[in-house]
């Protein structure tokens, strides 16, 4: 390890977007900064690696965003997904600050592109990173290197040492060796706890052991747990996490974006007994995308099976793994490990309930079944055209909600008041604003806004 100062101005725990924004801001203000990233270099960046865009308020067209997207509409969108579970003051702060973040990001090496094929129509609300989140992370790591920030990889912080209203030092394992890190100020930006399956199982029950984790395996919530144990104020529901239905063959960890499946509206979805369990045509994908994680999680063995026929195979984005394919419904059922008779019965009763009518894959077309106890209310077309295709679905965890409560200066509080030299940014405090649901690109907004605030406040504190 290169010569470290005995004491840093700022130690940043975490190595994703929020951590990097904090480090850049503090270093530019003249602070000496250390980043402690728990992942090895190839996996640096936490869940930011898997992100793709940034939701941004703007009062007129600014590259790459079209039209305008103003504070009230943005807040309204947030209120819809969170069902009001947000701190409106912090939410408005994040939304208002997002506008000035865009040029700041560009000035620090982040490049954007117009949203192109296959994406949702987000060109008005969301700015897409050219190359995605890892390209953003690379740009920021180059920026911090140029600013003289020291980055320690494979640096797992095990304990944040609190003395009264101050943090004095961190205990960490760096590349397996115990190290004590001293600093005048600290920013915690080490993510949620979804990488700790035991913790998920305690929160969700044993079913969580069958969940797949879409993001980094390095978000194990060690620092979050440590701070909560030391009386830091918390927000968010400890028993909740955000899960979507993804390809059941995805890796246990780190599958990222490609594991998504967009086929559900054009499918019938059955459980391992071969029975349907929810209206697949309830609303447009991705509006209903998020609920399917929970729906599948409630089924036996936390697994579902989306079945489609040749009419629908080209109506959605390509999947990362090819679908299971068979010439008959029974053959498909067997290939997917299902009881062919049960699936045949389900398909027959579904097909019999389908009615002719205009089919519009991109809008709610009202093409619904008649006479089923569990209807499909849109895009209901019989499965009758071979070959037949199937995808296994499993819940994929995107993030957890439990986090540290912060104020508008990103400062962490305990029951006795603010911890004077401790700030938090990113997923570890996102529950302060995002109490439920999810809004595409908002995680990066929270990380960027609060990372910059934390870095600025920490630099001012040590100046």
């Amino acid at each position: 390890m290169t010569a470290w100062p005995e004491i840093f101005d700022l130690a940043v725990v975490g190595g994703g977007n929020a951590a990097l924004c904090a480090a850049i801001t503090a270093a530019e203000a003249g602070a000496s900064v250390l980043i402690l990233e728990s992942a090895p270099l190839p996996y640096r960046g936490g869940n930011s690696r898997h992100t793709r865009n940034f939701r941004c308020m703007h009062q007129g067209p600014i590259f790459p965003l079209t039209d305008s997207y103003e504070e009230e509409e943005y807040l309204h969108d947030l209120m819809l997904v969170t069902k009001g579970k947000t701190d409106e003051g912090l939410a408005r702060l994040a939304i208002r600050s997002s506008e000035e973040c865009l040029p700041w990001m560009q000035a620090h090496g982040v490049r954007f592109q117009p949203s192109l094929s296959g994406t949702l129509s987000l060109s008005r609300t969301n700015a897409f990173f050219l190359g995605g989140g890892k390209a953003l992370v690379n740009a920021y790591y180059n920026t911090v290197a140029d600013l003289g920030v020291i980055v320690a990889y494979e640096a797992e912080v095990t304990h944040v040492h609190r003395e009264g209203d101050r943090i004095t030092q961190l205990e960490a394992q760096i590349a397996g060796r115990p190290v004590t890190v001293k600093a005048r100020a600290f920013v915690l930006a080490s993510g949620g706890f979804q990488g700790d399956v035991d913790w998920l199982a305690r929160a969700w029950g044993p079913a969580a052991r069958n969940f797949l984790i879409r993001g980094t395996p390095y978000n194990r919530g060690v620092v979050l747990r440590d701070m909560l144990d030391q009386g830091a104020e918390s927000v968010g529901d400890p028993t909740q996490c955000h899960a979507v239905a993804i390809d059941g063959r995805a890796p246990k960890f780190d599958g990222g974006i490609v594991t998504r499946l967009d086929c559900v509206p054009f499918s019938i979805v059955v459980n391992k007994e071969g029975d349907r369990f929810y209206d697949e045509g309830e609303d447009v994908w991705p509006k209903r995308y998020a609920i399917w994680g929970r729906l599948v999680a409630a089924q036996p063995d936390q697994v579902g099976f989306a079945l489609i026929d040749a009419k629908s195979i080209d109506l959605f984005m390509p999947s990362v793994f090819p679908p299971v394919k068979a010439d008959t419904i029974e053959g498909l059922a067997v290939a997917m490990g299902l009881d062919p008779q049960a699936v045949r019965r389900t398909v027959d009763s579904f097909n019999a309930a389908c009615r002719p009518g205009p089919f519009h894959p991109t809008e709610l077309d009202g093409l619904r079944t008649e006479g089923l106890n569990l209807p499909k209310t849109n895009w209901a077309r019989p499965l009758d055209t071979p070959p037949f295709y199937g995808y296994q679905l499993r819940p994929g965890v995107t993030f957890t909600y439990l986090g540290l409560k912060v104020d508008e200066r990103a400062q962490v509080h305990s029951a006795e008041g603010p911890i004077r030299n401790l700030w938090a940014a990113g997923e570890i405090m996102a529950g302060s604003i995002l109490g439920e649901g999810y809004l595409a690109g908002f995680g990066m907004t929270i990380g960027t806004v609060f990372g910059r605030i934390a870095g600025k406040e920490a630099a001012a504190y040590v100046a």
């Binding site: 296959g118 190359g131 995605g132 974006i257």
Partner: protein
Amino acid sequence: MSLDQTPLTGTATDEARRQIEICNACRYCEGFCAVFPAMTRQKAFAAGDLTQLANLCHNCRGCYYACQYTAPHEFALNIPAALAEVRVESWERLARPQAMARMFQTHGVAMAGLLVVVLAWFFWAMSVWRPEGGSGFYAYLAHGTMVAIFTPAFLVPLALIALSLRDYWREVGGGRVRLSHLQSALHSAAKMKNLSGGHGEGCNFEEGDRFSDRRRVFHQVMMYGFLLCFASTASGTIMHYALGWEAPYPLLSPPKLLGLPGGVMMVAGTAGLVWLKLRADRNLGAARVWGGEMAFILLLGGVAVTGLALYAATGSALVGPLLAIHLATVMVLFLLMPFSKMVHGFFRLAALVAEAGMQRPSGKS
């Protein structure tokens, strides 16, 4: 794209297909270069589709450094290397005779060996066929002899490349070529648009994940230098046959005015490309042809250096040996056109033309 679904055997194509299918489900890299929008036109990739994508790829490596799925991730994506392998494999497969392609694509030593043989042959030719009269270069080798030697050495490789390109066009399912497709391709090639990184800051070739425009600059300096030298030779030919004005030409004449800066640019460009190639990560390209590619760049540089040296030595005793060396490097460059990295220019242009023809009408997704 291609209607021909016959699988081409070969692990390079299979591996590229595996990787491209993952890429196509992600699409974060859409804005980098022409490969990614081209990829989104289909879900299943015939071998010809992969050949086309591979020849569109300029090995800028932007997608590698931006990729969340590179090793150690279990998806282990390395698109620049996978496409480089398919690309080289396609040049070898479509070249004739194939054995020569296989030898020269991969072996710098074979190139050097050929150079020595041709060089020796020129020295021998000069000693045996040295003309009685003739001035300038033609005092060493008569003009008629040079033409007799170089015409087939130039035309036969071009004919072989034309046959390869015809096969390429069939394999990738290229359609009717329109003027607008050619214009689009030439525009891309002239600016090397696909090495711009999508944001104009260049590629990730030699400095890890940092962007740099050096490769684009050096490549264009080299390429335009080569074209100037080619124009110099062409102008000399016209002057010789149409105007009856024989070499050597004075400084203020088209062959020199084009050739001198062209030669200097080729030297600078090839030197820069060698330097970049030494710095870049070999595992993000077709590692097995690294030696052949390096030898090819050195050969190009050698053509320019010996040409300039020959001019500098005008009137001295060095003209004879330098002329032999220069003619030998030029000859080897021509002879190797279908079997060396030189062929990439032809295939790349073909891929750009095909791509221009395949682009979907705007507004349709």
